[in-house]
Amino acid sequence: MSAAATDLDSMLGRRWKRPPLIRRAWLRWTLTLGGLVYLVLAIASVEVNWSRVYEGLDRGAAFIMSFARPDFVSRAGDIWEGLLESLVMTVAASVVGILISIPIGLGAARNIAPLPVYLICRSIVALSRALQEIIVAILLVAIFGFGPLAGFLTLSFATIGFLSKLLAEDIEAMDKTQGEAIRATGARWTQWINYGVQPQVMPRLIGLSMYRLDINFRESAILGLVGAGGIGATLNTAFDRYEFDTAAAILLVIIGIVMLLEYLSGLIRARVR
């Protein structure tokens, strides 16, 4: 495989191999070896306290066994209340989050937004994605107090980072000529978005919105742990009281609803193509 051989005759009968990703051999081997060494050291550094694991097995077993007899009844009121709060929080946060995400998503797409707008929108997206839900929730609980308002705001904020980014990327990947054809008609910017861009990204936007609704519901179960209301608060209380049977009931309800949402989003996505 000498670099000089370019004429056909000298190439014929030669074996061919795909050029390696990293051309310099020493660098390739250094990176591979380094990666392996790191992996071995990293695994070795994880400490496992086997006696503690042995003790914990009992608790784990009790937890799993309680799934065999989940208790929906004795805390039915609390579960229902928490569930309702979670659902309200989820739907409200998804709707508000999606509505805010759309303009930010448009602004964060390099092919349709001017540079200053692009930079501003990308910063908003980056900020929203950098701050993890739990951290935002703790901050907002500190500001607004315990309850679903903090959860609602947290989820709206998180939705913006998620949806704007993915929407912007879909817009950047759209077919340019369809948009060009609309611009060539003398359409104004809003009309261009409405006719040339929106039809191309709509299925993805709907799919992502449904997925975000799903995520927001699951997140709402976590946010309760830091006091942001919803079914998570009920779950947290059940754990604190060692009522594993009630906790199991709550988890089953959450699983059921997530499966229902999955089914629903499947139905909707099959219809929008």
């Binding site: 054809a181 609309i182 008609t185 009309q191 709509m202 299925p203």
Partner: protein
Amino acid sequence: MLRLKKLVKTYKTGDQALKAVDLEVPKGQVLALIGPSGAGKSTLIRCINRLVEPTSGEVWLDDIELTHLGAGALRRARRKMGMIFQEYALVERLTVMENVLSGRLGYVGFWRSLTRRFPQSDVDEAFRLLDRVGLLAMADKRADELSGGQRQRVGIARALIQNPALLLVDEPTASLDPKTSRQIMRLICELCAERGLAAIINIHDVALAQLFVQRVIGLRFGAIEFDGPPDALSPEVLTTIYGEEDWQATIKKDEDAEDDSVEEELA
């Protein structure tokens, strides 16, 4: 009606796509723009309606200079220039009717277009055009359900409903079979004659161009190498445009006059 003065386009990569092109197109003239790939044909027509920004030079449409127009004035100028694309460039998830009506976007306000309440005169005109190109029955189909020839007819209707003075046509037949190509070319030229439109048709198929147009421009490396009637395309001329090749087969006149007209086909 259309005048290009010393039009230059240099891409960021340093490629000079157009080198000071001068061109004048009178009202109602259909001209074909031929030349090898990369000669700047697409760039030239895109510089006219500024889908590509020219680097320097002037583009005059009647008495308006286009290269320095602001956003609003450019949109008003674009209404006078219908464009037809290679690969059709229909918005695939919109219906045929929406695609045709999108040609009116330059005339209709945002809220009307958002709610799809176009003026009745536009809707009627859309139906008339769809009927003219033989697709009236397809109005409510989605654009991606149509065949290539049908899609290009929708593209033609979309350009014409703008009520343009000039058609910019970019490789209208590049993705069509030979028979459909002829039908599409004939349709475009008939419509131009009916409405007195000028047209610049970017085309690879020299023989097809010769059949239909009144004037041929040959472009090579971003400069005009030939400007004359289709009959004047001799092997020597084609060699200066494209380079050395056996041209006898390309410019042989088609003796088998085709009797399949678009109308018959669609009846």
